[in-house]
C-alpha cells in the first residue's frame, strides 16, 4: 500500500514550547485518518505541517514519497477544509468553489461547470449565485468541502470539520463525509477532539498528547486496547484499574483498562473484590453505576433490566473474561 503522508522525526517548536516533538507517522493512501487529542496536543500543528502553512523545526515530511518540508502550500497535492471554513466573503459560492481552478488559469465557463458539478456532489445545486453570508453553517461546510475537492487533491485535510455544527447536523455530516471518502477514494486526514467522531469515521486513529503520538491504531484497538492511561481515559472513558484490583479481578498485576460495559455487579458474598455503590445515573436503556473500591472509583454500565441496586449497597465486582487490558505505561 502506498504511503500518502510520512513524518520522520518531525518537530515543531515555538520558542520553548514543543508543539510537535519528534513525531513519526505514516498515513496510508485511501485511508480515513483521524488525529485525535485535546487542545494543545499538537494535532492541529501536525495538520498545518502537512498543508504547508507551517514548517517543521526538524525532521522530514514526505507526501507520496516526495520531501516537501519547505514547499509552499500551493505546491502540495493537498487541500484543506478549514475549521471555520474560510470562504471568501466577496465571492459567490460558485466562484468560491472555482477559486482553485481560476488561479490555475482554467477558462471561466469550464471552471464554472466543474464548480457546479462539485456543488451538486455536496447537494448544493442552485446555490452557486449566493454569497457565503447567505448560507447556514452546514451549507458553508459543504461549500468548503466542494472548494477543496474541486482541485482533485490526493490528500484532503480537515481541521475540526464538524466542530461548529450542532449535534444532529454533525451526525449527518459524519455519515456523508465517510460516504464521500469511500466514493472518491481520496486520503482524508482529519483533526478532532471528539472521540466518538474519530471512532465512528476513521479507519485509523492517532491519539495525540503533549506534542507526541501516544497510540496509533484502528478504532477498535484504540478503544479496547489503550496503551496508556491517557488513551484509556481520553478515548473510551475507560476505568483505570490499579494493579492490585486488576490482579484480584483476574487480570495482570499492573495498571489496566476496563470498559464500563464489561463490569458487572454480584452479591457481596464470595466476591474477591467488593465495593460500595456511590451513585446511580439513569441513562435510558442503561444505568451508570459508580462503585467505590478502596481509593478507586469504577464506573459500570448496567442494563436497566438487571438487578436493582441502590446507593450504599455493598456489591461484589466481576469482569467479563479478557476485558482487562494491561497498559504499557504505568505512570
Amino acid at each position: 500500500m502506498t504511503v500518502a503522508v510520512e513524518f520522520k522525526k518531525v518537530s515543531r517548536h515555538f520558542g520553548a514550547v514543543k508543539a510537535v516533538d519528534e513525531v513519526d507517522l505514516k498515513i496510508d493512501e485511501g485511508s480515513f485518518f483521524a488525529m485525535l487529542g485535546p487542545s494543545g496536543s499538537g494535532k492541529t500543528t501536525s495538520l498545518r505541517l502537512i498543508s504547508g502553512f507551517d514548517q517543521p523545526s526538524a525532521g522530514s515530511i514526505h507526501i507520496f514519497g516526495e520531501a516537501c518540508e519547505t514547499a509552499p502550500p500551493n505546491r502540495r497535492p493537498v487541500n484543506t477544509v478549514f475549521q471555520d471554513y474560510a470562504l471568501f466573503p466577496h465571492l459567490s459560492i460558485r466562484d468560491n468553489v472555482a477559486y482553485g481552478l481560476m488561479v490555475r488559469g482554467v477558462r471561466k465557463n469550464l471552471r464554472h461547470q466543474e464548480a457546479d458539478e462539485m456543488l451538486s456532489l455536496v447537494k448544493l445545486d442552485n446555490f452557486g449565485d449566493r454569497k457565503p453570508a447567505q448560507l447556514s453553517g452546514g451549507q458553508r461546510q459543504r461549500v468548503a468541502l466542494a472548494r477543496a475537492l474541486v482541485n482533485k487533491p490526493r490528500v484532503l485535510l480537515l481541521d475540526e470539520p464538524l466542530g461548529a455544527l450542532d449535534l444532529k447536523l454533525r451526525e449527518q455530516m459524519q455519515e456523508e463525509l465517510k460516504a464521500l471518502q469511500q466514493r472518491l477514494g481520496i486520503t482524508f486526514v482529519f483533526v478532532t477532539h471528539d472521540q466518538t467522531e474519530a471512532l465512528s469515521m476513521a479507519d485509523k486513529i492517532a491519539v495525540f498528547n503533549a506534542g507526541g503520538i501516544v497510540q496509533i491504531g484502528t478504532p477498535e484497538e484504540v478503544y479496547h486496547r489503550p496503551r496508556t492511561k491517557f488513551v484509556a481515559d481520553f478515548v473510551g472513558s475507560s476505568n483505570l484499574v490499579p494493579p492490585q484490583i486488576s490482579l484480584d479481578l483476574g487480570g495482570q498485576s499492573c495498571w489496566s483498562s476496563l470498559k464500563p460495559e464489561a463490569l458487572t455487579l454480584t452479591k457481596q458474598e464470595g466476591a474477591k473484590v467488593v465495593g460500595t455503590v456511590k451513585s446511580i445515573r439513569y441513562l435510558g436503556a442503561t444505568n451508570r453505576v459508580m462503585i467505590q473500591v478502596g481509593e478507586t472509583e469504577l464506573s459500570a454500565l448496567l442494563s436497566n433490566t438487571a438487578d436493582h441496586w441502590t446507593r450504599g449497597d455493598f456489591v461484589g465486582l466481576q469482569v467479563k473474561p479478557g476485558a482487562l487490558y494491561a497498559m504499557e505505561e504505568n505512570t
Binding site: 498543508s51 504547508g52 502553512f53 509552499p72 502550500p73 500551493n74 493537498v78 487541500n79 484543506t80 478549514f82 471555520d84 474560510a86 470562504l87 471568501f88 466573503p89 466577496h90 477559486y99 482553485g100 481560476m102 488561479v103 490555475r104 472548494r147 477543496a148 482541485n151
Partner: protein, 316 residues
C-alpha cells in the same frame, strides 16, 4: 407562610425621574427619537440646509455692471465655469486630487498591511502614534515647515547637494508644467505637501479594512493553489477595497477643497478652494463661488457611483 407577590419597597419609581424612566421603558421608541433629534436637527437644518442654500445660490447670477446678485434661476453661472480660465482650475484641482489619492494608496497600503498583519502590542502602539502624531500639530505649522524643506536653499536641496544628486533634482525641476524654479513653487511641491498632510486619512481606513480580513482566508487561497501575487490580487485587494475607497474619499475631497496648501506651496495658479475663497470674498461673486463649490460634490458623487458599480462595496 404564604407570601403575596408585592413590589419591593424602594423599587417603585417616584418623582419625575422615576416616572420618566418608566415611560421610556414602556415606549423605547420615544427615547430613541429623543436621542436622535439633536443630531438629526443638526444634520437636517444646519448641514443639509446650508448645502441646499449653496446649491440654490449657484443657480443665481451676478450682474456684470452693478455687481449685484440677480435672484433669478439661470444656468449662466455654470456656463461661466466652462470658460477656459475656470475650466483650467477645475482640471488642475481634479488632476492634483487624483494624483495625491493614487500616491497615498501606494504609500499607505504597505504601511497598513504591516500594521494589520504583523504589528502586535508595542509595535501597534508605535504605529498608531506614528500615524496620528502629525495630526496633533497645527496644519499651518506643518505646511510652513514643508515650505522650508522644499525651498530653493532648503533642507531637501541641501540634502541632494551633499550626496551629489543635485543634477537629479534639477532634472526633475526642469520638467515642463510640474517643475519650476524650486520645489516650493512647483506642482511637485504642492503634491508632496498634500500627500504628507492627508496620508493618515488613507492609512487608517485601509488598516481597518485589512484588520478585518481573517488570516485563514490568505491561507485558504494559498492552499487552493494561488501564488502570493494571486492571493493579493483576488483576496486581499478586493477585501481592502472598501477601506481604499473610504480613504480616497478623504484624500480626494480634502484635496479638492483645500485652499491653503496651494497658496503657500506651489506655483501661484489657482485651485478650486482658492477660487471659491476669492469669489466669495473680494470679488463678491457668491453665485460663481457656489458653482465652484458644487463641482467637488459632483465629482465625489460620480466617483462613489463608479466605485459602487465596480463592486467596491461588495465585500461590506
Amino acid at each position: 407562610m404564604s407570601r403575596a407577590f408585592t413590589v419591593q419597597p424602594g423599587s417603585v419609581h417616584t418623582g419625575v425621574a422615576g416616572r420618566l424612566s418608566d415611560l421610556f421603558w414602556r415606549r423605547p421608541k420615544l427615547l430613541l427619537a429623543l436621542m436622535l433629534a439633536p443630531p438629526l436637527l443638526w444634520l437636517g437644518i444646519i448641514y443639509v440646509g446650508s448645502l441646499f442654500s449653496l446649491l440654490l445660490q449657484s443657480f443665481f447670477s451676478i450682474d456684470e455692471f452693478s455687481g449685484l446678485i440677480q435672484y433669478e434661476f439661470t444656468l449662466k453661472t455654470y456656463r461661466e465655469l466652462l470658460r477656459p480660465a475656470n475650466y483650467d482650475i477645475i482640471l488642475r484641482t481634479t488632476l492634483m486630487a487624483a494624483a495625491v489619492t493614487l500616491a497615498s494608496v501606494v504609500i499607505a497600503f504597505p504601511i497598513s498591511y504591516f500594521a494589520a498583519r504583523y504589528a502586535r502590542g508595542r509595535m501597534k502602539a508605535i504605529f498608531y502614534l506614528g500615524v496620528m502624531l502629525p495630526l496633533w500639530s497645527s496644519y499651518l505649522v506643518k505646511v510652513y515647515a514643508w515650505k522650508l524643506i522644499l525651498a530653493k536653499e532648503g533642507i531637501l536641496s541641501w540634502f541632494f547637494d551633499s550626496v551629489g544628486l543635485m543634477p537629479v533634482l534639477e532634472a526633475v525641476l526642469a520638467l515642463p508644467v510640474i517643475g519650476g524654479n524650486s520645489l516650493s513653487v512647483s506642482y511637485i511641491g504642492t503634491f508632496l505637501v498634500f500627500l504628507y498632510v492627508w496620508l493618515p486619512f488613507m492609512i487608517l481606513p485601509i488598516q481597518a479594512s485589512l484588520e478585518r480580513v481573517p488570516a485563514n482566508l490568505l491561507e485558504a487561497s494559498g492552499d487552493l493553489g494561488a501564488s502570493q501575487g494571486q492571493t493579493f490580487r483576488y483576496v486581499v485587494l478586493p477585501l481592502a477595497l472598501p477601506g481604499i475607497v473610504a480613504g480616497s474619499i478623504f484624500t480626494f475631497s480634502l484635496t479638492l477643497g483645500d485652499y491653503i496648501i496651494p497658496q503657500i506651496v506651489g506655483s501661484s495658479r489657482l485651485f478650486i478652494g482658492q477660487a471659491v475663497y476669492a469669489h466669495q470674498g473680494t470679488a463678491g461673486n457668491i453665485p460663481l463661488a457656489a458653482a465652484f463649490a458644487v463641482v467637488p460634490i459632483i465629482i465625489m458623487a460620480f466617483y462613489l457611483w463608479m466605485a459602487k458599480r465596480k463592486g467596491a462595496f461588495d465585500a461590506l
